[in-house]
Amino acid sequence: MNIIQCEELSKSFGRRHALQRVTCAIDAEKIIGIIGRNGAGKSTLLNIFAGYLKPTTGSCKVFNENPFNNIQTAANMIFIDDRLSFSDYLSLEEILKMGADFYPNWQNELAYRMLDYAGIDLTAKHQQLSKGQLATFNLVYGLVSRCAITILDEPMNGMDEVIRTDFYRAILKEYLAFPRTFLITSHHLQEMESILEEILLIDDGTVIAHAPVDEFKEQLISLSGPGDVLADLLSETEVYAQKIVAGMTSAVVDARKLFVSEEMLRTKGIKVSALTASEVCMYLTNKKGSDIDAIFD
């Protein structure tokens, strides 16, 4: 069942086209990673889902309604990013009280336990927290609100590795306790992969891929073997990257366009290896022909 549907969604800010004709559908009760390079349009898309921005053209429907300025959508959605701010007069404890007042599914006890675990003093003010503590508190705020759509925009920014691992588990556990749709953006896909169910890849304002994680990973494979043998194959399919090391060529190719079975490849002496999701993302969003080394030569 789709809770978010976009049809030809476009958003421009003056001359800058942030999103171009995005069409996608997001199911209920899934953890989805929204991945993309900086400036790809992830935040814009999420802001439209949250009802903060209006699409320039096209439509977006959340719970079958237009989310812009919609109180019903707002009651079932929460948007957590590093700019979440509260009044100067509230201590963290009072912020939690305020959240409990607004969100009907609020879990105050859970919040206290999580913040206690993270070592955050509840009498402090939001503005006094360090970057990592701020990220932790914001994430806790988002988790205990138990909204049907929880959008986390780079939630682990600033957190140390230990607490990051802990809170990935926390997201998963909360998801199991109260299933909802999580939309998480992050630049650390390799850490997050284990909890994600689907990946939505955005590049240059368009959706390049939207698939369950396993399917996503199988999109590209890495082939390595003798250069001449590989050359024939490479001419028939789309090559994303190519490298020659000590006589051995390795290339990343589109698996769907490869019409040769694995058995065949092995007999030819070509090794097939799978890629991680973040590697797939990297290759899919790489600008053809651009290379950082070239700048320094």
Binding site: N69, I71, A74, M98, D101
Partner: protein
Amino acid sequence: MQSLTNISLKTIVKKQVKWKAKLNISALSSLIILLILFGALTSSSGSGSYGSGSGNLDVHFSIYSLDIFLIISAIWAFIVALLFTTKAYRIDDLSVVSSRTSSAIANILVMIIYSFIAVILMISTYYLQVLGVLLVEKKSLVIDHLFISPSVFILCFSSICLFGAIGLLFGTSFKGPVAIKLFLSTFILFSFIYIFMAPNSINLGSLMMLPNLMISVLYLLVATLCFSLTIWIANKSEVSRK
């Protein structure tokens, strides 16, 4: 799938008003400080003075009235309303369940509540000032009216409300869609030009001749118009946390 929560606009507005009124209370404390400041400044000369004479007697009257306090409160209401629409307060609204409409209505209700309290603060400051004058100058004190009539109270309330409404409208318009920003800028420009070119055409005198209640009703009508425009513009505005 979990069932979605259904919340009415009224509930959310009530909650937002409760929290906003509580958290922005420092605006009222700053009003008290301003009123005390101006009350102390004008305690020797009063709100105005005039002289009269007959024979070999020259009389100088210093009048203590509500004027200066009303002017201060009205300007305060304008500035506070303007501040309510600035970025810091707007993005605080996004941290809880809210829509542009609910936030605008909540701001309006809070401004009305604050205007009412402001009138009471204004009157308290006035009486404190009169007490001060009484204790210092027992002999030459003339009391014309001591009780503030309800019509004057309502007039003060509607004046402060009006300025608050104009402040909210200005603030909301400047964050609104481009078309509205443009319209507002040209409107302000033209009104300034008009005021300076033909000041006589603005007939404030006839306004003052009307009875107090009629002026109040007029002010409240204009304030309601401003509030409605504020909500209309807010509905069209986008927000961003950046």
